[in-house]
């Protein structure tokens, strides 16, 4: 369970303070996957990062004793001059005791299927290979919640199938918090929804309901 308490987040712009959300309160129920909906710039990714504990709101707090992943598909932490193996080892060291690092790295190597590129500098990777590495790395650790920020399917058909299978397997024990503009995908992956609209957040027990309201709003504004 993750509780969002009185969250307010704003940015200063040349035209004054812009609020992403004000006094946002919500309880993300145990074992439910959450879809975050909103227009571009509504603050979905920021909220995702705040929930993940790697960004902070101006005021308010996140109350949770669940383990939460970093945003899946994130490549920002990679050091280009280091190999895939070295980068995987670094991240593993952050999350598991040294004794378990080798096992994690082996998992990533097997899952990513990038062959001998695993021992070459990450900066020599194609974007597809980099995605395979980042995705494999995210899947190597077990969290209560996985944060998914606009991860479009990566790799070829076979890799996508493998990823989908693994995510289905993870879903049995973990939940996902997903930011996506692909509404069909959201309805498929999530149980509940959180809609960010004009600085206000609304929680929906049913993702289908959330998508409906979101669509109605977006279309109405056009």
């Amino acid at each position: 369970m993750i509780e969002l308490k009185h969250l307010t987040k704003s940015y200063t712009t040349p035209k004054g303070r812009h609020y992403l959300f004000k006094d946002l309160n919500a309880v993300l129920p145990e074992g439910k996957s959450v879809g975050l909906l909103g227009r571009n710039g509504a603050g979905k990714s920021t909220l995702l990062r705040i929930i993940g504990g790697i960004d902070y709101a101006d005021s308010g707090e996140i109350v949770s004793n669940s383990t939460i992943s970093w945003p899946i598909g994130l490549a920002g932490g990679f050091q280009g001059s280091l190999t895939g193996r070295q980068n995987a080892r670094f991240v593993s060291r952050l999350y598991v005791p040294e004794a378990a690092v080798a096992e994690k790295v082996a998992f990533v190597e097997e899952f990513a299927e990038i062959g001998k590129y695993f021992d070459m500098p990450v900066k020599s990777y194609s974007s597809g290979m980099k995605s395979r590495l980042t995705f494999g790395l995210s899947m190597a650790f077990e969290f209560d919640y996985y944060l998914v920020d606009e991860v479009t399917a990566v790799g070829d058909a076979k890799f996508r199938q493998k990823s989908a299978n693994l995510m289905a397997q993870l879903r049995e024990r973990s939940s996902f918090i997903v930011v996506s503009h692909n509404l069909k995908e959201l309805e498929k992956q999530c149980d509940v929804g959180l809609l960010l609209l004009d600085g206000q957040a609304t929680f929906f027990d049913d993702i289908v309901e959330a998508v409906k309201v979101y669509e109605a709003n977006v279309l109405a504004k056009k």
Binding site: G76, L82, T83, P97, P121
Partner: protein, 265 residues
């Protein structure tokens, strides 16, 4: 499939994080596949720098210092200085330069500063020992008077560098412009820390101002530890230790005050 990792306490997490960052930094800087020399480069780079300075100052300027060969004098000042200035310089851009790393929840900005200071300490201390051995092999060193004191001074300078780095990390994040200014001031400090000349040659009326600089007291004490005939009038190592304590307290306070701000986008 993975086993759910058991909860580690915050100290274990921080220790593991600093270790991971240390190893990553070591590999990034020197062990990358582009450089075939690999880890050897860790040592070769500062050795070349020091040798160049040594040739420049000891042969061209033909300096003389009391109680020891000029090479020993220079090494004992310039290597701890490198450790200090490298830590501080890297701290200035540490937050922006490592945004990607801060995406991993266990990583805090302070861990990056710790890992870097430890890395600089390890690198430059090893270089110091190696070069001192080379100098001894040439017969220019008559033993070390007080090894425990020498080790302690090195350690104290590392702590001093860490406290200063914490402040510089906060300052560099607060304003890149001030950061650039600090980088310039550092090069001035280089000449005002008694690294390439003994402070005893400076006239008394100027020396009293120079002695406000805590680093002078540390470098001179290190030389005294190497050879206890080395004169250390006016030098007060206690002043350096007090300065270190003050820097650490200020560093931790401003860091704690700005930690969230540094992690906020």
């Amino acid at each position: 499939m993975a086993v759910r990792a058991k909860r580690r306490n915050s100290f274990e997490i921080q220790l593991a994080t600093v270790r991971a960052l240390f190893l990553r930094e070591l590999q990034t800087r020197f062990g990358s596949q582009d450089l075939r020399l690999g880890y050897l480069w860790v040592l070769l780079e500062p050795i070349f720098q020091v040798l160049l300075l040594l040739v420049m100052f000891s042969f061209i300027l033909a300096r003389h210092v009391p109680a020891m060969d000029y090479s020993v004098f220079l090494l004992t000042g310039i290597l701890p200085w490198f450790m200090f200035s490298r830590s501080v310089n890297r701290a200035l851009g540490a937050v922006e330069g490592n945004r990607g790393l801060l995406n991993y929840r266990p990583v805090l900005p302070v861990d990056i500063a710790i890992a870097r200071t430890v890395l600089e300490l390890v690198i430059y201390f090893i270089v110091y020992v190696l070069l001192m051995l080379v100098v001894a092999w040439f017969g220019l060193l008559d033993g070390i008077s007080d090894i425990p004191l020498l080790l302690f001074v090195w350690f104290a300078i590392a702590i001093f560098a860490f406290g200063f780095s914490l402040i510089m990390m906060v300052v560099g994040h607060f304003s890149g412009e001030i950061g650039k200014l600090v980088a310039v001031l550092l090069s001035v400090l280089y000449f005002a820390s008694g690294i390439i000349f003994p402070v005893q040659i400076i006239p008394e009326q100027y020396l009293q101002y120079l002695l406000w600089n805590p680093l002078i007291h540390a470098f001179e004490t290190a030389r005294y530890a190497v050879n206890d005939h080395y004169p250390i009038y006016h030098i007060d190592f206690g002043y350096f230790l007090k300065s270190t304590l003050v820097l650490m307290v200020i560093g931790l306070l401003v860091y704690k005050f700005r930690e969230r701000r540094m992690m906020t986008t």
